[in-house]
C-alpha cells in the first residue's frame, strides 16, 4: 500500500531581547541558577507583568517575514496548569487572538523525478503558517534522586510559537522547512536559533494516510528532538512505525511520544497523557491595546531583503544557478559576502565556487563564521584578479587563500614576499622542462608511442619542480614543442 505522510511543526523560538517578556530581568544564557529573577518572573504574589515592547516588535518582525496577517489588537491569555517550573501555575500566552495568522513559508524541495537539467534539481513548495503567538518561557527543572531543583532564569524569556499547517509530506520537507525558517529568522535577527541551547525547540505532529485519502489519519506528537537532523530522524522512524502498525492491522493511538536520540526511536511518554483543560481566559493584568500602524510600518522598513527574493535576484543579477543561489543565500552573512565580492570582481560564478568550495570547507572545519574571517571580500576579489591576470596559478591560490585567512595579510603582499608569482618566463620554464624530460624518459617514450596522456604527467612534474608556480598552459605548450624534437 502507498502511504502519504502528513507533518505539521510547532517551533518555539526564544527571542533575543535584552530583558524578559514581562519584567526587566536579563535573558543572558548560562548564568548561575536563579540569579536573573525578580518577583515578576518568580510569580510572587502581588507582582504584575508589563509587556516588553521589544519582544512584541521582534514577534511582529517574524510575522511580517512569514507574510502573516497581524492582529489589530494585541491581547494575552492565561493558560492554566500546575507544574513546578511554572511559578504562577499559569502561563501568559495568546489563545484565540494570536499575534499573527495565515502566513506562508517557501521551502526548497528536491524534484522527485529529476526532470530538470541541473544535477540537484530543486523545486519550491509553499508551507502555510497557521499562527504565530507570543508567550513566556518556563523555568527549568533539574531532577535529583529524590527531589528536584528549579532554575527560574529561563522563566519569562520571550517565546514565539510558530505553528505550521500540516503541509509537509516527508521528513526531508520538515527538515527543509526548519532550515528555511531558521534562515529567515537569522536574516531578521530575532533569535540565536540554537537548538542545543534551547533557543529554538521543535515539536512535530505526524500522521499517515493512504495515498489519495482526503481525511487525515490519527496523529502522534513527537517531542524531545534537539537538532534538525534529530527531527528528521525522529519523523523517519515515526512514519515507518505508523506504516508498520497499519500494515499489521493495528490502529494508531493519539499520543505524545518522546524521541530517544541514542536509540533513534520514538517512545510513548511514560506519564499518562491526560486531556488537559487549560481554562484559557483573557489575562486581566495586561490591558489589550491596538497595534499602531506607524509602528508596523517602522518594523516593516527594518526588515532586510529575505532569502527567497535575494535568491531570485542573485539568479537574475549574477547569473547564478538556482542551486548556487539557494546555497549562498541560506546564510545571510555568506550572501552579503558574496554580493560585496561580486561587485568588486567580474565573474560572480567564480566567487560562488570559491565560497561554496574552499572557503566553506575552511569555515566548517574550523567552526568559524564568515563574518569573522580575515579574508575580507576585497582580499578575495584581489586574489581572483591575480589568477585572471596570470600573477598566480589557481593551485597557488588555494594555499594562498588559507594563508590569507590565517594571517589576514594582503594577498598581493604575501605573493611578493613568498615569491609565489606564476612563472611564465620562457627561460625559467625551459630549464625545468629540460630537466623533467631528462629525468622521465619512460613517459617521454610513452608519449612518442602515441600515449598523449603522458604529457599531462610531465606537466605535473614541471609544476612540482616550480612549486606550483608555473603557468600550466604554457608548460603544456612548451613541453609538446620540445617533445617533438626529442628523439
Amino acid at each position: 500500500m502507498t502511504y502519504e505522510i502528513v507533518i505539521g511543526l510547532e517551533v518555539h523560538l526564544q527571542l533575543n531581547t535584552k530583558s524578559k517578556v514581562f519584567c526587566g530581568c536579563s535573558t543572558d544564557f548560562g548564568s548561575a541558577p536563579n540569579t536573573q529573577t525578580c518577583p515578576v518572573c518568580l510569580g510572587f504574589p502581588g507582582s504584575l507583568p508589563v509587556l516588553n515592547r521589544q519582544a512584541l516588535e521582534l514577534g511582529v518582525r517574524v510575522a511580517i517575514a512569514l507574510s502573516c496577517r497581524i492582529a489589530k489588537e494585541i491581547r494575552f491569555d492565561r493558560k492554566n496548569y500546575f507544574y513546578p517550573d511554572l511559578p504562577k501555575n499559569y502561563q501568559i500566552s495568546q489563545f484565540d487572538q494570536p499575534l499573527a495568522q495565515h502566513g506562508n513559508l517557501s521551502i526548497e524541495i528536491l524534484q522527485p523525478c529529476g526532470l530538470q537539467d541541473e544535477p540537484s534539481a530543486m523545486a519550491q513548495k509553499n508551507i502555510r503558517i497557521r499562527r504565530v503567538h507570543l508567550e513566556e518561557d518556563t523555568g527549568k527543572l533539574f531532577h535529583q534522586k529524590d527531589y528536584s531543583l528549579i532554575d527560574f532564569n529561563r522563566s519569562g524569556i520571550p517565546l514565539l510559537e510558530i505553528v505550521s499547517e500540516p503541509d509537509m509530506n516527508s521528513p526531508e520537507e520538515a527538515y527543509s522547512y526548519l532550515t528555511a525558517l531558521k534562515s529567515i529568522l537569522e536574516y531578521i535577527d530575532v533569535s540565536d536559533c540554537n537548538m542545543e541551547e534551547g533557543s529554538l525547540r521543535c515539536d512535530a505532529n505526524i500522521s499517515i494516510r493512504k495515498k489519495g485519502d482526503s481525511a487525515l489519519g490519527t496523529k502522534t506528537e513527537i517531542k524531545n528532538m534537539n537538532s534538525f537532523k534529530g527531527v528528521k530522524a525522529a519523523l523517519e522512524y515515526e512514519s515507518k512505525r505508523q506504516m508498520d502498525s497499519l500494515e499489521d492491522g493495528k490502529r494508531i493511538i493519539q499520543e505524545t511520544r518522546l524521541y530517544n536520540a541514542e536509540k533513534c526511536v520514538t517512545e510513548p511518554m511514560r506519564s499518562k497523557e491526560e486531556a488537559h483543560d487549560y481554562r484559557y481566559f483573557s489575562e486581566p493584568d495586561l490591558a489589550p491595546f491596538d497595534f499602531e500602524e506607524s509602528l508596523l510600518e517602522k518594523i516593516h522598513k527594518g526588515i532586510p531583503e529575505l532569502p527567497e527574493p535575494k535568491k531570485n535576484r542573485f539568479i537574475k543579477d549574477y547569473r547564478l544557478s538556482n542551486y548556487d543561489a539557494a546555497v549562498i543565500v541560506s546564510d545571510k552573512d555568506t550572501a552579503d559576502y558574496f554580493e560585496k565580492c561580486a561587485n568588486l570582481y567580474v565573474n560572480p560564478k567564480a566567487v560562488a565556487n570559491w565560497l561554496m568550495g574552499d572557503i566553506s570547507a575552511y569555515i566548517k572545519e574550523n567552526s568559524v563564521s564568515i563574518k569573522d574571517l580575515n579574508l575580507k571580500p576585497e582580499r578575495l576579489s584581489d586574489m581572483l584578479k591575480m589568477i585572471d591576470s596570470g600573477v598566480i596559478t589557481g593551485k597557488i591560490a588555494k594555499t594562498l587563500l588559507i594563508e590569507v585567512i590565517k594571517t589576514g595579510i594582503d594577498p598581493r603582499k604575501l605573493v611578493k614576499a613568498k615569491g609565489l608569482e606564476q612563472i611564465s618566463d620562457n627561460n625559467l620554464l625551459e630549464n625545468a622542462i629540460s630537466e623533467t624530460i631528462a629525468e622521465n624518459q619512460k613517459s617521454v617514450n610513452d608519449f612518442k608511442n602515441g600515449k598523449d596522456n603522458a604529457v599531462m604527467f610531465l606537466v605535473g612534474r614541471v609544476m612540482q619542480k616550480t612549486k606550483g608556480r608555473a603557468n600550466p598552459n604554457k608548460v603544456n605548450e612548451m613541453l609538446r614543442e620540445k617533445l617533438k624534437g626529442v628523439k
Binding site: 507582582s47 481554562r279 493584568d285
Partner: protein, 483 residues
Amino acid sequence: MELNTLTAHNLMELLKKGDICPIDICNNIINKIEKTEKSLCALAHFDKEKVLERCSNLSKGAEKGALWGIPIFIKDNICVEDELTTCSSKILKGFKPPYNATVIDKLTGLDAILMGKTNMDEFAFGSSTETSCYGPTRNPWDLERIPGGSSGGSAAAVAGDEAIFALGSDTGGSIRQPAGVCGVVGLKPTYGRVSRYGLIAFASSLDQIGPITKDVEDAAILLKAISGHDEMDSTSADMPVPDYLSGMKKSIKGLKIGVPEEYFIEGMDKEVKNSIKVAIEKLEKLGAVCEDTSLPHTEYAVSVYYLVATAEASSNLARFDGVQYGLRADNIKSMIDMYKKTRKQGFGDEAKRRIILGTFALSSGYYDAYYSKALKVRTLIKMDFDKAFQKFDAIVTPTSPTAAFKIGEKISDPLTMYLSDIFTISANLAGIPGISIPCGFTKNNLPIGLQILGKPFDEETILRIAYNYEQNTDWHRIKPRLI
C-alpha cells in the same frame, strides 16, 4: 488629648504648628491598641518596637513629605517589604515579600509611618472578616457584630480609633461595605486610578486599593497620595491626578444626582431605606438635583460577579502551591501530593469554595454558559452606568441592604452572605469610583452608609458630594461608645 481619635488632617496641622511630635501620635495609638485590640481583633500583624523604630527614623530635615509623621495601617493583602503579608491565610504563613507595593513606596515616600497590617477575610473572600485565619474582627459599635469585609480590620481599626486611617482593597465592596457598617468613610477608586502592583490579587480586573478614613477630607488626602500611573502596572491609567482637596470644597449646587430604583429592593432594611431617603433630601437642600433613574441590569450583578471574580481568583490563587514560599505541607509523597496537601491545609473553606467555583466557570464545556456569558452581562452593566452618567453627575444608593449583622449569622449560608455586596458589586464590574460615608444609625445604634458612585476617573465629584454632605451633618463625629 487622645491623638488617636483625630483625623490625619487634624494631626498634620498640629504637627505643623509643632504642638505634637509623631511619637506622641504613635504612643497614643499603641496605648489604644493595648487596651482594645484584644476585643476588636482588627490587626493581623502589629509590632510596637518596629513602629517606634520607624518613628525615630523619620526624616528630621526641612524637607518633609506631605504625610510626615502620620501613622497608617495597611490591609494584610498589600505587600510591605520584609513584613508579614499573609492575606489572613494559613497558606501564606510567614510570607515576607522582598518588595513593597507601589502604594507603600508612595506612602513612605511621603513620610507616613507604617503601623502594621489589618485583619481581613482570607484573600479578601468575604463580607464579614470572619474567614480570616486570625479569627473574626469585631465591629466597634457592637462587638457581637461583624465589621463588614473584606477590609473589616481596616474599617474597625479606624472606627475604633486604633488607626488614624488605613488602606483597604475593594473587589466587590470590600472597602465601602465595611466602611458603611463601621460608620467611617471608604473610597473605592476608579479601576486604574491606583496601582495594583504589590496588591495580592483576588480578581485582577476588579481589585482596587483605596482609603478608609474618619472623614472625607482624609479620604481625599490619602487618595491623592496613592493615585497615579505606575509603570509596574499596565492596567494603571496614565492620567493626571487632580487636587481632590480643593475640588471637593466647591458647592454641589446644580449637580445632577441619579437615584436608581433597583437599589431600593423588597426586603431591604426599612431603617436603611429611610436613612438614605433623608440623606437624599439633605443633598437636595444643599442644591443638588436628585432624580429617579434606572440601572436595569443591576439584578444580574451578583451572579456576574461570582463568576468573573471567582474565575480570576481560581487562576490568581494557583501560585500558592508550596513550591517557593508560604506553607508547604509535611509528609508529602510526590509533587501532586504536595499540591493537594498544601492547598487542602492552607486554604479555608470560603477560599476553596471560590477556587472550585471559578475553576468550574472556566472549564471547557461550561466556559460559554458561565464565564463568557458573565463577561457579556458585565458589559451591559457597564453600559447601564454609561447611559446614566450621560444625564447624571453621580448616583447615590445605600452602601449595603442592612446594617452590621451578627457574627456567625450568615457564615454558613454563603448565598445570603454574598447578597451583602449587592449594592457595591456593580461599581467594580463597571470600573467606576464609589465612596461610602456615614448617613445615620439604626435604632440599635448601628451605622448606616450612603454610597455615592461617580463617572470613571471622576473621584472629584463624589468627594465633593460626600464632603458637602458631611460638612452639613454630624454622623461622622459620633464615635462608638462600647470601647
